[in-house]
């Protein structure tokens, strides 16, 4: 293929403001699947189980829609699409609140391997992830909940031709069901961003103890994992470790922001349709300006957060130099909008919105938990200022 044509490279690298027809088709196909397979009765059933997902649905998602490998290059067994398609997927999954190990396996682990792994490691690890036959996750944060990799304490000590891992990781998404763990740790005697690297190991290896945490959002399972001299393999090399971790976290922040605007849209839609149905004082409550204006403001909020999430995904897809700053921007925007929209949705529902039987709390809990997952909005706003050089 001729890649020397400058004008075509130029067009390809420009940040897009609209999805292509193919991307829209992919979205509607996925939406149809999720409408069918992830009604809230299923969300409620699965969130009450220990595994937290339905292996049959996951298999279908992998076989029919090739979803876990959507962004994995074809040579590693993926569908060969990129960040935009990955984010369309998370947006739709967030909209339907699908209970599945997608964020852990596809967003966190696959990207970590793509960012850090050697060619041999990519060929060894990615095909099974893309096929959906192997679940994986990334463990970065420790019990103190710090998302800045400089704060990592877990230790990787050279041992023969591998490493021994010691330390505790927490808030590990799907850490209880993943077969492969990718762990961020530092080599002895290093501080800050020096000496950081990613390591892989079998989740059932000796010296690994996993404990399912009680999560406020039961539709996203998180685990604490303790390592005591567990034998691990270095992913890539030590020198690029910090960069690979940051890159993975920034990509994850963009994917999460898109997941969050999907959920926020569900909350807005739910509030609007309830306001059209509910009658008080002889009129639908949607005819009161107090409610109409609230809903108009919610729409504005959601559309603004969508624009940020979409733009960040498009920027990352073309590797625009500003994309890490935009990851923080999009995550901060979504982290304000989603919980606010969910809370307003409860408010518009009134008393019924506060009941367990009403579905609103399912999204509300996802919203609150996502608000702080990968760093709360104030953290990302500060990061944005630093990345913009303010």
């Amino acid at each position: 293929m001729d890649t020397s044509d400058e004008s075509s490279t130029e067009t390809k690298r420009r940040i897009q403001f609209a999805f292509t027809d193919e991307q829209e088709q992919f979205r509607s196909q996925l939406r149809r699947f999720l409408t069918d397979r992830s009604p809230t009765t299923e969300v409620r059933r699965l969130m009450a189980t220990a595994e937290g997902y339905d292996p049959a649905v996951w298999r279908q998602l992998s076989e029919e829609l090739a979803l876990p490998g959507i962004h994995i290059p074809e040579q590693y067994g993926g569908a060969g699409f990129g960040m935009v398609e990955l984010c369309i997927a998370t947006e739709e999954l967030g909209r339907a609140l699908l209970c599945a190990p997608f964020f852990s396996t596809a967003v966190l682990a696959a990207n970590a391997i793509l960012n850090a792994g050697t060619e041999a490691q990519k060929f060894a690890l990615l095909p099974e992830i893309a096929k959906g036959t192997r679940l994986a996750t990334l463990a970065v944060t420790e019990p103190d909940g710090n998302w800045d990799p400089s704060g990592i304490n877990a230790l990787a000590t050279p041992d023969g031709n591998g490493y021994r891992l010691d330390g505790v990781k927490s808030y590990v998404v799907d850490g209880h069901v993943a077969a492969v763990l990718i762990v961020a740790a530092r080599t002895p005697g290093t501080v800050g961003r020096d000496g950081l690297a990613l390591f892989t190991l079998d989740a059932n290896a000796g010296g690994v103890q996993r404990r399912l945490l009680e999560s406020m959002d039961p539709s996203r399972k998180i685990a604490q994992i303790e390592f005591r001299g567990a034998h691990a393999t270095l992913l890539g090399n030590v020198n690029d470790g910090a960069q690979a971790i940051l890159r993975t976290l920034d990509q994850a922040a963009i994917a999460l922001a898109n997941e969050m605007v999907g959920g926020a849209q569900t909350m807005l839609d739910s509030a609007v349709s309830y306001a059209k149905l509910r009658v008080q004082f002889g009129r639908t409550i949607g005819s009161f300006q107090a409610i109409k204006h609230k809903l108009a403001d919610m729409l504005l909020d959601v559309e603004l957060a969508k624009s940020a999430a979409y733009y960040a995904a498009q920027a990352a897809a073309v590797d625009d130099p500003e994309w890490p700053a935009l990851a923080s921007l999009a995550k901060a925007a979504a982290s304000e909008t989603y919980p606010h929209t969910a809370a307003e949705c409860i408010q518009i529902h009134g008393g019924i919105g506060f009941t367990w039987d009403n579905d609103t709390h399912l999204w509300f809990k996802r919203a609150k938990s996502s608000e702080v997952f990968l760093g709360q909005p104030s953290y990302h706003r500060e990061l944005l200022m630093q990345r913009w050089g303010v």
């Binding site: 403001f17 609209a18 009129r283 109409k292 603004l304 940020a308 500060e382 200022m385």
Partner: protein, 415 residues
Amino acid sequence: MSTISAAEVRAEVRAWLADNWDPDMPLVQWRGKLADSGWGMPQWPKEWHGRGLMHTIARVVEEEMANVGAVSVAKSGVRLLAAATLLEHGSDLQRKKFLRRILTGEDTWCQFFSEPGSGSDLAGATTRAELKGDFWIINGQKVWTTSAHHADHGLLLARTDWDAPKHDGLSYFVIDVKQPGVDVQQLKQMNGHASFNQVFFTDAKVPQENLVGRVGEGWRVAVTTLAHERRGADGLQPSALKRGARIGRIHAEERAETEKANQPYKWYPQRAGRVDLIIDRAKETGANKDPYVRQEIAKLMILAKSAEWTARRARAAQQQGRPQGPEGSLGKLAASHVARGCSRVHTLLTGTYAMLTGHESPREGVVAEILVSVPAVSIAGGTDEIQRNIIAERVLELPKEPRFDTGPFRNVRRN
């Protein structure tokens, strides 16, 4: 609609420009040539100073004009809203009388719609027009009129029937502004500028032939004007001169005209909040070291960037011929939020200096002007509250407001 191709149009206009364009010609004379040839408004009908070209092809003409640095027909102020309204609803006599002088820039126009008693509710106008002999006699008051002090003609919405329901009792006229019964007074705003007028009509006269549309159809005609206003037909921007284009005395004349037209709006950038100054101001004041201020700057910049990208999304969808999503209706409300956010953050960055104004205050008074101009954004061109109603009703399809203004207008409660 003509089936002529873009390439044919390009060749034709290029040849015409080669024969006719002269940068040293007097401005009005050149614009007369544009108006008579149809090249000034190629998308207008052939019989009225146009060439009946589709908008997409008409753009070719603009490109060719820009290439040689040719000045366009007059476009500033509300003159093009007047023209669009007359093209749609005017009589041939009116079109003949007014359109050419609109394009040459010889006549300036203004719009008499808003009144002290009807701001958001334009159709509640109470300025009255009564037919006496051959003239309509006008009494009442209009407000927020741009350029009335140097306008020749005004688009007037007035009530002709008090027993009809609100929207059915209005009629639409072209009124001669320079007559004894029309008293134009400048309206000084809270920021010290005077960009608008209030206008008092005392037995002002409109000849019968200046009624636009039929009696009682005024609202329908006004909706045309407003639709064009929303589409942004009133360009304040002068056509950019292509580098290397020969500059003649005609350009100086055009510049003077533009400067005069823009003079009342020098504060408009400040009204929008000047988000462009935020980061520089944070650095020059040292406020960028305060973690609280950093958070507030980030919040504002996230909002401003998201609003910008939302507008780009709307444009991209339009360019692809997709139905416009909700993102297309949110720009004005988003702009209000951005402006208010700017006002707040500029104050944070400025601290006690925000007590000052004028030359001794930060940025030669620009910061102070932001603080006292921002309140206009959420009012002008439709208040935030009206915008929310529109978004709720048209985009979210929520029920309409209950009405209390039906029946004969005479009985409707008003100011």
